[in-house]
């Protein structure tokens, strides 16, 4: 009898945990995105407006670009918001998503220790700076996690004509997120490639690191290779169980002039400059 009632209570708890959120008929949009949009606080600032306007809840899965794309491919997300242009185009070309829309951009910068052993401070182009780091054998911390930032880093090494792998004593492939990689660079005096937004939002805890390539703001970044565009893609409805209409509404809302304006204002109060720059078609044609 007692064992029976314990099992009953356990089943009730299990059943209660299954109803997600439990607020009736609220529609749920599953958004797979990268850690940068979530960790910067951008989505927290923007999403309540969409949720209220569409009587919906957005479940944000913030992961690396590789995993976000895999979630979309498996139909485990309704819409993806990522930054790795070539892989986004492949995602659409392979039929996993309907179409890609520009959303916003920010830029990458190379940060490193103040003593700058590879002497890259003020070098205008990232590929030249990477070549100098390799020539000096200065320690470089790579995300190593197949993220959008890691994808960009690999293309910059290629442009620099340097073949990198884990056997090089100065090349550290961490396989971790941007925040952890920056902490590693801070502790060990390493160089790393980071998006400007994450670096700015974390810079108070990184006294030894400073921006060496990319300038103090996006306007002073002269290397077009360091631009970091974000795209949004609704997942192919044929995968089944996809919130098609809500995903469409999300794309329309995210690229609308009103939301774009709020993207451009985000972070100005805290950091004196935006963390993301609006770039949707509607915004460019406004």
């Amino acid at each position: 009898m007692r064992a029976g009632s314990i099992i009953f209570v356990a089943l009730v708890i299990l059943a209660a945990s299954c109803s997600r959120g439990g607020s009736g008929d609220v529609q749920v949009l599953r958004l797979a995105t990268t850690t940068s949009t979530n960790d910067s606080g951008l989505l927290d600032a923007l999403l309540p407006d969409f949720e209220a306007g569409n009587d919906a809840r957005v479940d944000v899965v913030a992961v690396g670009t590789g995993q976000a794309i895999a979630l979309g491919e498996a139909g485990d997300a309704d819409v993806i918001l990522v930054h790795a242009r070539a892989r986004e185009d492949a995602f659409v070309a392979e039929g996993h998503g309907t179409d890609r829309s520009d959303v916003m951009y920010n830029d990458f910068v190379i940060v490193g220790p103040s003593d700058d052993p590879a002497k890259i401070d003020g070098v205008p182009f990232a590929a030249d700076a990477f070549a100098a780091i390799a020539a000096a054998g200065a320690v470089f911390a790579s995300r190593g996690d197949d993220s959008g930032t890691h994808t960009k880093e690999r293309s910059l090494w290629e442009a620099a004509g340097v073949v990198v792998d884990a056997d090089l004593p100065w090349y550290k492939s961490l396989g971790q997120g941007m925040g952890s990689t920056l902490n590693y660079a801070e502790e060990t005096g390493a160089y790393t490639l980071t998006d400007r937004g994450t670096f700015l939002s974390q810079s108070a805890g990184l006294p030894n690191l400073r921006i060496l390539v990319g300038g103090s703001s996006i306007e002073s970044n002269v290397d077009p290779a360091l631009l970091n565009p974000y795209g949004v893609i609704p997942v192919d409805p044929d995968k089944g169980g996809i919130a098609v209409e809500l995903a469409g509404a999300f794309v329309a809302w995210l690229t609308s002039v009103e939301t774009q304006e709020r993207i451009g204002e985000f972070g100005v109060d805290a950091f004196g400059q935006p963390l993301f720059y609006p770039d949707s078609e509607a915004w460019r044609n406004r």
């Binding site: 690396g64 995993q67 895999a70 993220s147 550290k172 961490l174 396989g175 971790q176 952890s180 502790e187």
Partner: protein, 233 residues
Amino acid sequence: MGTLGKAFTDAFGLLWNLDPSLVETVALTLQVTLAALVIALLVGVPVGAAVGLARRLPGRWLIVPLIYTGMGLPPVVVGLFTYLILSNQGPLGGLGWLFTPAGMIVAQTIIALPLVVGLTMAAVQGVDPSLPVQMLSLGATRRQVAGVTLLEARIGVTAAVVAAYGAIISEVGAVMLVGGNIEGETRVLTTAIVLETRKGNFALALALGIILLGIAFLTNFAFHRLQVRQGAR
């Protein structure tokens, strides 16, 4: 089912080809786990036996719940604590152990130690309380009493070894923070699984999980053989 099936063929393929990076990762996993386990046993078994035997220990009402709490220490908190101690700004920053296997061993030892102490204590307390009294009356030293009691409690002590081993070989939060998951330097099986999952390589991640479970099974099989032999003696 596609991903699940691929995971098993991937696991088999990695093992069959003795994938060099897999071998390196497995070797480091075993090195860190076994080093932490040995240190935790060398310190934890005597301490656990002492606490278990000293039934009138002053402050026992506080010490025992503290040990039990330690058995449930969240590994990520242990990792954070170790990280801050070993960081450049931390008290032991001068050792240069952050992002090295040595630092990972420190974190794993802290996780394993309360498990070894707590379970050894419980095993020793399970031994007939008249045994130490008789031995002392026959003129045995306290050290001899502890030795014989541990021998009597050997099955429980082996359980302590197994529990501590299982806790640290499967642990991911602390080794990720303290080790940094650096390829070829501090990457172990659990952190490799997290990484491959983040990359979206679900089949490869699960394949590594299967290999981790296989290693844990083989080790526990060895522990069990030891336990059976001891029980029969």
